[in-house]
């Protein structure tokens, strides 16, 4: 079964008015179960909008979206995806553990099972010692790990991530990338990942979807052929550099890449 299918999806904001913005146009994309796909492109190319369409946070103007074999809306109601944003977005009046429990509360789990699962998820992101801390007592990277634990709490088959490491410093970021791959290994989740960073996309992904702005379109899909386990050595691998070059050249071909400069080369 394919995890996500987008079938000629278009999305306009304020349709029919003079403030109409054509955010996405004729998007066809299918993502296999267990696949790691990154969306990359300059600012305004609609990559976040695309993710929010899959999450059913917004509705498409045209086209059809299937998530885990059902409509995007049904997938949202069934809690079959988890989501993480650039800001951790933790509830500052809840302890770390109770933040992770939140999606379980809304899915109707009882207290004992919630607690057990939350502790399991915090162990997965290596924060089991911080369960009773309050979010403000944690560093940015730790908060983001709590957000990932929260997104994974219901064990959704699909994880949607919108620049989750965008606000972190470079060292923390590389560490978090390695952690994410380890978590993916443990859970087998399909991951759709929006990023501005070419190396991040190449390091993490099976496929990198390159997008262009106004209207948002998919210009190219780059297959990343990294062999073996992805670890720190991968970052110095020839295939890694080849992947970066290929994504960068695809982005250069995108009209407006230079003038917008929305992609960084880190």
């Amino acid at each position: 079964m394919t995890a996500v299918v987008l079938d000629s999806v278009s999305m306009s904001f304020n349709p029919g008015t003079n403030r109409e913005v054509n955010a996405l146009d004729g998007i066809d994309l299918s993502i296999a179960e267990g696949e790691f796909v990154s969306l990359i492109g300059p600012s305004g190319c609609g990559k976040s909008t695309l993710l929010r369409l899959v999450a059913n946070l917004v509705e498409p103007t045209e086209g059809r979206i299937l998530v885990n074999g059902t409509s995007a809306e049904q997938a949202r109601r069934d809690h079959t995806y988890g989501m993480a944003f650039q800001q951790a977005g933790l509830f500052d009046w809840r302890s770390v553990r109770r933040n992770v429990e939140l999606p379980l509360e809304l899915a109707g789990w009882d207290r004992g099972r919630r607690r057990e699962r939350a502790e399991e998820m915090l162990a997965l992101v290596k924060l089991d010692d911080f369960a009773e801390h309050m979010p403000w007592q944690l560093s940015g990277g730790m908060q983001q790990r709590v957000a990932i634990a929260r997104a994974l709490a219901t064990r959704p088959p699909l994880l949607l991530m919108d620049e989750p490491f965008g606000a972190l410093d470079e060292m923390t970021r590389e560490h978090m990338q390695a952690e994410l791959l380890r978590i993916r290994e443990a859970t087998g989740s399909t991951i759709v990942f929006v990023t501005h960073s070419i190396p991040e996309a190449v390091y993490l992904s099976d496929r990198v979807v390159v997008m262009s702005p106004r209207p948002g379109r998919i210009t190219r899909i780059v297959d990343i052929a990294l062999t073996g386990d992805r670890d720190d050595d991968t970052r110095e691998d020839q295939a890694f550099f080849a992947g970066i070059t290929e994504v960068r050249e695809s982005l250069r071909a995108v009209e407006g890449y230079h003038s917008h400069g929305g992609v960084d080369d880190r």
């Binding site: 999450a55 946070l57 989501m83 944003f85 977005g89 899915a107 309050m134």
Partner: protein, 247 residues
């Protein structure tokens, strides 16, 4: 430190220039008036404090209730919010004269109504803000969990508004005391600090009037400290408190 220096300077000023008690009594004279009349001052403070407390609690209750109504209705919000802000520019304290006229002159109700009204708007503006100004990420998360409107209210909006409520109470508590004093000054029963301070000045019993001023300061301070204490209990756990708006 500064307080001690100030009182010392005051004392020496009164003695050095031989200021007459009807102009400015010395701190020592005020203190002895205070200790001589401590029972009377306490009784008056209880009357004023009672007025302030009853009005404060009613105002908080009504303000919280109204802020929920405001959150649910955009129309209501657009009607009431500018009004609440415009009231800043109007000395609504004069309404106490209207209330005095409505009730018998032996009633405490007009003063309590006045306190309630002023507290009401402070609480309304702040709590409505807390209920509305929820982080967009929290709202998107709740949508991604397919949360019902009720869950969004209980798990997101209300907890978000709690520190706003405490901030409002911190602003409203001293204001309630001041409003009670001023309302008492406007007439009616002659039993509160707001009556005894001006009446003793009028009778040239300045030291006694100042003793009541001490009582008024202590009362205001008590209300403020209790509200700060309440606020600290929540904000310590959260690590921050939002800034509040004065009506």
């Amino acid at each position: 430190m500064w307080g001690v220096a100030f009182v010392a300077a005051w004392e020496s000023l009164v003695r050095g220039f031989d200021l007459k008690p009807y102009f400015l009594p010395a701190p020592t004279a005020i203190w002895s008036a205070f200790t001589d009349n401590v029972g009377l001052v306490r009784a008056a403070a209880f009357v004023s404090g009672g007025n302030a407390l009853v009005g404060l609690l009613l105002g908080i209750g009504l303000g919280v209730a109204a802020s929920f109504a405001l959150m649910r209705s955009n129309l209501l919000n657009e009607l009431v919010s500018p009004l609440a802000i415009a009231l800043n520019a109007i000395p609504i304290i004069v309404l106490v004269a209207v209330f005095q006229n409505m009730f018998t002159s032996t009633s405490e109700v007009p003063r309590r109504l006045m306190v309630m009204l002023i507290v009401f708007f402070i609480v309304l503006v702040n709590v409505a803000k807390g209920l509305r100004q929820v982080s967009p990420i929290h709202l998107e998360l709740m949508r991604s969990y397919a949360a019902t409107p009720r869950s969004v209210l209980v798990k997101t909006r209300i907890p978000n508004a709690v520190p706003y409520l405490f901030t409002a109470v911190k602003i409203a508590a001293p204001t309630a005391v001041i409003t009670a004093f001023v309302s008492e000054y406007f007439g009616g029963r002659q039993n509160g600090l707001g009556y005894f301070i001006p009446s003793n000045f009028a009778n040239s019993k300045n030291a006694v009037a100042w003793a009541y001023v001490i009582g008024a300061c202590l009362l205001g301070l008590t209300f403020y400290l209790v509200s700060v204490l309440l606020e600290n209990i929540t904000s310590n756990r959260r690590g921050r408190a939002p800034g509040g708006a004065n009506t």
